[in-house]
């Protein structure tokens, strides 16, 4: 992968996370995750009924590498909210369990179903 390909990929990532409130870089698609870690995050988002854009890195090796460089984060999945990197599978799961994830969506103005309310 050349420097140009990498910088093009990073430009596309910046556009995606600027143009969509919630973006999940994942292996597979929201309906058909192809990795258990990606699947866990997709499941949390769908449980919370959060609208998001899923980007399948398996279909795009440039994005797969670019997103690791962009966030200085070595693994997929990666969740972005309002352009900000929130975390990978472990962090998202911890934040979901503690309620912080729902609070962050609410604070960012992202529609979310709060299971703590009836």
């Amino acid at each position: 992968m050349s420097d140009t390909e990498l910088s093009n990929a990073i430009d596309r990532i910046k556009q995606d996370i600027a143009g969509n409130d919630v973006v999940l870089y994942m292996k597979g698609t929201p309906n058909f995750p192809q990795c258990g870690f990606s699947g866990q995050v997709a499941k949390i988002l769908s449980y919370l009924e959060v609208p998001y854009k899923g980007v399948n890195v398996l279909e795009d090796p440039d994005i797969r590498e670019g997103v690791k460089q962009y966030a200085n984060w070595p693994t997929i999945p990666q969740l972005y909210v309002k352009g900000e990197f929130v975390g990978g599978c472990d962090i998202v799961r911890e934040m979901f369990q503690s309620g912080e994830l729902i609070d962050q969506f609410k604070a960012s103005g992202v529609p979310v179903k709060d299971p703590r309310q009836g």
């Binding site: 690791k68 200085n72 984060w73 070595p74 693994t75 975390g87 990978g88 472990d90 962090i91």
Partner: protein, 79 residues
């Protein structure tokens, strides 16, 4: 190539000398680990920054030689 647990612990402690490190081999295959790391270096940092410190300590092995490392990080609890 799987990576032995004591090597993971050694690398983390080399970068974070005060760290308490607990490693569980989740699948018994030397390839899927859970690491719990407690270090003063994490205090005041976001979870992302805490994990980045551990990834940096492991020198680019995560995502490569280390396929799966479930990570939990925290500063020591203050009494």
């Amino acid at each position: 190539m799987p990576m032995p647990a004591d090597e993971i612990e050694r690398m983390i402690k080399a970068a974070l000398p005060d760290a308490e490190v607990y490693i569980t081999d989740l699948a018994g295959d030397g390839d899927h680990y859970r690491a719990q790391v407690i270090s003063e270096a994490f205090r005041g940092l976001s979870r992302v920054r805490q994990h980045q410190l551990v990834y940096a300590a492991l020198g680019g092995q995560v995502g490569g030689a280390l396929h799966a490392l479930a990570l939990e990080t925290a500063p020591p609890e203050t009494a």
